[in-house]
Symmetry: C2
Subunit: 542 residues, 2 copies
């Protein structure tokens, strides 16, 4: 027997209409590519999202056709999120930090029909348009009178001209909530990028999960700054959760240096920000150099890669900002866990609390987790047993776009490629990527632990721990270090820094100083490249 | 094209398993009918919910068969919530405050197969069992050795004996998320009670919505006391949202007097409570009489009927407890709106904030609202235009159980029977029930406004405003007042109290003092009974 409740599909169009109706006056502030600040409201955004929907109809785009973006975090990108998905098309957010060949490959693989891009990325589009065989329409996200001439891009038009004369009312279509809504490619370490194809259902459920008090905790009393890009797993879903809750949105555009981000936070009363650890390095440096404080920001979500405990401590003790350490993946929409204390932990001392907050946190309802040994046997949640992390739930992929890579699931679970422990309270701690694990004499060494200790040293800007072959122990850890500008530290000083902080056999065998550590398109350290760079490296003790 | 996300139905069994796995140690504390406090954890609750599922299988109950409860808020009731729905049956929570004939009528209408009841309600069951033609199994929620003899109830058994030997593991079935999960009857003012039949989907979505920061705001750092009964719209969904978030649960059982509730709040570190206004009168009286404070409780959800502003003020100013004023209906699972301030309102003075908090608040994502005039034309959200309130969304009914009352929807919207304004910020204010509206000389008078003013008078314990016929104005308001014990106030003093607080023509024509005001089974004032009682009442000025 079915229940007798209204059979309403969960649709992305409902999010923007809800925001327009219930939070019509709430602000959306964007730093534009042009440099100025643009301000408007959810009511305005909804109106223009409807114009986008009309404009797509006028181009004759069919249901589920892909519309790509190459854009910073800003109001026009926000409108595209809702106009494209809401009208039944699929928004394909492309990471502009990929090399042009990859961008063209992805656009062709996705069969994008339209590509909308910020002026910043005109050089990329000039370089690739001829290779993009499916794109029929090129839209520059700007005013008509700023449209550059002689770009060579066929039929290039401006966004404002494209949507400007469309009606501001639109009858959003209703359809199966499992319909495709957004497409995001993730660059695996091997092979071509693979696409995660989100649905309306998964996106709305994820928006609920992400807004919960023990997740990102979003309300109409927040002013939220997503530094994490809208081309990177939909800025962790914040645009959707913000519309769901009426939070004020502050978009940083292309200005991601410490000074710009700090000034935006202060000027717009930001209460919550979100980004990967590397972006906060610049912010913390700026704030420390100028003796500044945060007057409104009380928490920041950090994920994408493990946040060094030193950063969590610094935010908390020096700036009274709580780091919400999170973990997720493109394949997970992306949120899996966020670290928030539990009731009994409120009684703990600050040091013990900081130790909990260094973990990646607890799963959100909607995400089931398990850790398994190499034979697939489930391991206990004892905080010690370390195994391959598997997840399942309604906002986790079942397969990749076009079936690339075959069926990724194991007994219905998605294997994350992360290695983790889970403690009895349900707090996840990522100890490694399965392919980054260092196995020395039959024992695992957590490269993340080794890196976090190095990051706590005042002279270290960034540190990566990789394995190098060893005749006796099979593998031993090598620490690759980028120093802070002007800071000095020797190999021996750094190795001595590990004494008492980690078991002796886990201390790296050597330190290699480098001028820079290669970062991927999403700001993660590219250990694969480092391993290549240090292939054949001779450890001193070997 | 469909998205490529895992196709997992939303099921109530997932809530309890999530809690057991991620919040296994979080506490559930219950004051039992026996008088003592019972303590255990979500892990224990899940184990026993699985035993309930096995016990129902053993009885041969089919999918969607109804299992009724007549029970206070407590751990056994909590287990039944998950064991019954999780295994594919429908939990039918019966309000024990209904008269026995109504209870029997409802049990027969629902075709309940099993009825589980607290010892308190043995007299009711004795009175009705012979009339309940479909119930085949009677279960007393207690220990085997406490089972009374010679009750006459055929095959009566104890809950502990019933589930005690069942396995503690259970393979929860997966099925269509729109399947029926819970049944709750609402007693309309006319005709027989009608059943709202919730689904797994509606229940899980409502649990997400209710836990949001701008709703009840539930996290694993909360200790929550639902005073609102589990037989009254599933205690506003708190059992489900608590399992979703790992909040500690504190169940008050039958002890709802001010002293018992206060002591439970203090002993169990309650941070959040929830109930109808009438239950808080007793609590506030107890606290005031003994000069007490709340050491942990920082907020309380009040709904079910409009919360007098004087109570909101008293909680805030005297006890630093924020009232989260809410509105909903049995037909809405029940949450529609909760009152939380928005970002710009944080700048307002306390008095202006209290004025906002006196409204019923903003809708949760999942609930669309509109107000319409008598012709069905939508009215503006200007805070002044008052009209019939309509709602729609995935946790709102489409029809009543067995189609009773026909199709209740108007163009897909559920007419709530409430009359309301909505202001430009989206804050709903219920001004009346459509059948309680007083229309004087063509102008509406809000009976709720009139009552709230009376409630602010120190001598008034409860006040009801009803209309009486008037030869010139058609209708005029009569104020029916129950004084506080030992307090004195005259008719003229009370009427003078309205001067300057309301327009002259809205002031009641007369005051009638009564010893008690009739309350319905859910604690709401029964104005229909009052209107009968005062039929033919002669207003002095008439």
């Amino acid at each position: 027997m079915l229940g007798l409740m209204q059979d309403q599909p969960l649709l992305i169009s409902q999010l923007i209409e809800f925001a327009a109706r219930n939070h019509g006056d709430a602000e959306i502030v964007s730093r534009r590519v042009e440099g100025d600040l643009h301000r408007y409201t959810y009511r305005d955004a909804a109106r223009r999202a409807r114009q986008v929907a009309h404009a797509l109809d006028r181009l004759g785009l069919g249901f589920s056709d892909r519309v790509a973006t190459l854009a910073w975090n800003g109001y026009r990108h926000f409108e595209l999120y809702f106009g494209i998905s809401g009208s039944g098309r699929v928004i394909h957010t492309i990471n502009p930090r990929l090399i042009p060949e990859q961008i063209a490959w992805i656009a062709n693989h996705a069969e994008d029909q339209v590509l909308c891009f910020d002026a910043t990325f005109l050089p990329i589009v000039k370089a690739i348009w001829a290779k993009c065989t499916t794109v029929r329409h090129w839209v520059l996200l700007g005013d008509a009178d700023k449209l550059p001439h002689d770009t060579g891009i066929p039929g290039l038009r401006s966004y404002e001209e494209w949507i400007g004369n469309e009606p501001v009312e639109y009858a959003w279509p209703a359809f199966d909530e499992r319909s495709a809504a957004a497409l995001c490619y993730t660059s695996g370490t091997t092979g071509n990028p693979k696409g995660a194809l989100y649905s309306h259902r998964s996106t709305v459920l994820h928006a609920y999960g992400a807004a919960l008090p023990d997740s990102v905790n979003l309300s109409a009393r927040d002013s939220v700054l997503p530094v994490v890009p809208m081309f990177h797993v939909n800025a962790w879903g914040i645009p959707y959760s913000a519309a769901m809750t009426g939070a004020k949105l502050v978009f940083p555009g292309a200005a991601l240096d410490g000074k710009s981000v700090y000034e935006l936070i202060e000027a717009e009363g930001v209460t919550l920000s979100a980004g990967v650890p590397t972006v906060w390095l610049g912010l913390l440096n700026h704030v420390a150099q100028h003796g500044l404080k945060f007057s409104t920001m009380n928490r920041t979500v950090i994920g994408g890669s493990a946040c060094p405990p030193a950063m969590i401590r610094s935010f908390k003790l020096q700036y009274e900002v709580t780091v919400l350490h999170g973990w997720g993946m493109t394949e997970m929409s992306p949120l899996g866990t966020v670290c928030n204390l539990k009731l009994p932990q409120l009684e703990l001392g600050l040091e013990e609390q900081l130790a909990v907050m260094a973990k990646q946190g607890r799963s959100i309802f909607g995400v089931d987790m398990r850790i398994v040994d190499p034979d697939g046997k489930e391991l206990p949640w004892d905080g010690v047993s370390s195994g391959d992390l598997h997840v399942r739930g309604p906002w986790i992929i079942s397969s990749y776009f076009k079936g690339e890579g075959g069926n990724p699931l194991i007994d219905g679970w998605f294997p994350t490629g992360d290695v983790a422990t889970i403690d009895p309270q349900g707090f996840l701690q990522i100890t490694d990527r399965s392919k980054d694990v260092i196995k020395s004499g039959g024992e695992w060494i957590s490269s993340i632990d080794v890196e976090n200790i190095a990051m706590a040293h005042p002279a270290v800007a960034m540190a990566a721990c990789i394995s190098v072959p060893h005749p006796k122990w099979d593998e031993r850890p090598l620490l690759v270090v980028m120093k802070k500008p002007g800071a000095e530290v020797t190999r021996d000083e750094l190795l001595a820094f590990y004494e008492g902080r980690i078991a002796k056999w886990q201390i790296p065998d050597d330190v290699a100083f480098v001028d820079s550590i290669p970062l991927g398109a999403t700001g993660k350290m590219q250990k694969m490249k480092l391993r290549e760079q240090f292939r054949g490296y001779q450890l001193p003790a070997a």
